[in-house]
Symmetry: C2
Subunit: 322 residues, 2 copies
Amino acid sequence: MDGLSWIEQAPDAVARTAPPVRMGILSDLQDFAASAMGRVENALDESIAAAESEGCPPRLAEAMRYTVFPGGARIRPRLSLAVAWACGDDDPRAAAGAGASIELMHCASLVHDDLPCFDDADRRRGKPTVHLAYGEPLAVLVGDALIVMAFETLVRCVSRKPRRLGALVSIVGRSTGASGGITAGQAWECEPVIETALYHRAKTGSLFAAATMAGAAAAGASPHAWSSLGGMIGEAYQVADDIRDVAGNPELLGKPVGRDEALMRPSACRELGLKGAVAKLNGLVEAAIASIPECPRATELRLLIRREASRFLPEDIIRLAA
Amino acid sequence: MDGLSWIEQAPDAVARTAPPVRMGILSDLQDFAASAMGRVENALDESIAAAESEGCPPRLAEAMRYTVFPGGARIRPRLSLAVAWACGDDDPRAAAGAGASIELMHCASLVHDDLPCFDDADRRRGKPTVHLAYGEPLAVLVGDALIVMAFETLVRCVSRKPRRLGALVSIVGRSTGASGGITAGQAWECEPVIETALYHRAKTGSLFAAATMAGAAAAGASPHAWSSLGGMIGEAYQVADDIRDVAGNPELLGKPVGRDEALMRPSACRELGLKGAVAKLNGLVEAAIASIPECPRATELRLLIRREASRFLPEDIIRLAA
């Protein structure tokens, strides 16, 4: 867990920080929030179970489950669900599958990024990394298998609305591939010169943008208008991560702090200082909320985003930066 | 190059070993064979070029091209094209894209299989392996990027017939994933006990089966009837590879021989002896040809398969096994 609690606030907690809203909205929000995490976990379990069928080597199956469960905050797939919900959610199964596809890509990238040839990390989500638990060969293969599984999940989840498949495969593919996707993001670390904005957009922003776009596409809405929202939330999330990397408590984060500095990675904190980075984070959140396109539940979605973003940083870090 | 020359025979060479056929068929065959390799290379180039656009780190782009070009015999994508052609080929762009998708998956698996944690290979297709040329991090990322690119290629290539996308994504996904796909095949090497048939079917047969099925699906035919043909050609190809691994000339193969023995991999030669393995190879080829479903150019396809299979092994090995 990384300390985020996307959309799980009780309605009264929301009401304290947001403008007054009618009770029906808060009740809808409550219903949605209560079901979101369960829908994500079920969709992920269904994808893994499909891959575990005949022909899957037992240790590979075990390592895939180890990688995906238990998860972190599942912020990306819940963002997909939130956007699909805001867009009317006419096919909840498609929305859950789209979110699961994004999360599987995220898990795949974590396993590969943790490998000895990259971060050489020993802990992830509070337990040994996959290559330490299952060996490096299976860690490489788990990543490969989860990438493939992400696309298979899309086919299965849109079986009732097959016309949505093309957009979903394009969105997920673009956000993970060599052209500005998370693979490109990681590959920037292998370049002699790194352009910070491009690096962050690819490494983090791309998958967040895909989360919002895929949520819209899964609900039959035009995905392009939703790219900015995800991209800016992703950038804000990355800035918050940079800040926690410098100022955070390793026990809260579940992974070592100071990695960016140790690996000489681009960091908003190193470029702007702690105070500047916090100001940047706040600006990004406001811009993200302002970018939400017209949709059936735009008000609800604005509430959700504001509330979640207020929890990007622990109180003690905000005080530190004040 | 691995010594195979799929469907590039001059018509007179075909006529010498096959039953007499009418000239129109041979002329069609000639036309098809003359264009097949070019269509594969163009489709691959289009996929790489799309990924190289804005946002791709330069060294990643270079490493992807290094991995995919120059290729081997492109036996899988040309098999896709041959099946699509046999089925009427009503959308040549879809067929070329389907073949390219399969070949990109094949290239991705080669890069990852060559990594130090697997085969630790230093040569591939006559030049240094990707991790030696570009470092291990980029080799991992090239594999990831090519897997994603394979699915993006499918979306692009079926833009005129979007209803075919679901079948194609399913076929390519299943053949590469954890449930009997090439990832499973490689993962069997990490298990304490390996079941040879399952291992070979996953590691080699699955992608060959996908090549024939994707060729059929790209041409609007039902893919399932085409699974056996690809599976058996794949198994024959693997048996031929086992035989070459034991008896072949390393200069002809472009990679070290004796790797299976050194790595204690399952091998038809170790199980059946050289003579038994050659008999198995011949039986598989006959069964493959007999499995070809009814389709507009079944006669032509039978000719192609028989001719190609006769070149699976160099003459000196066949003499050695006689």
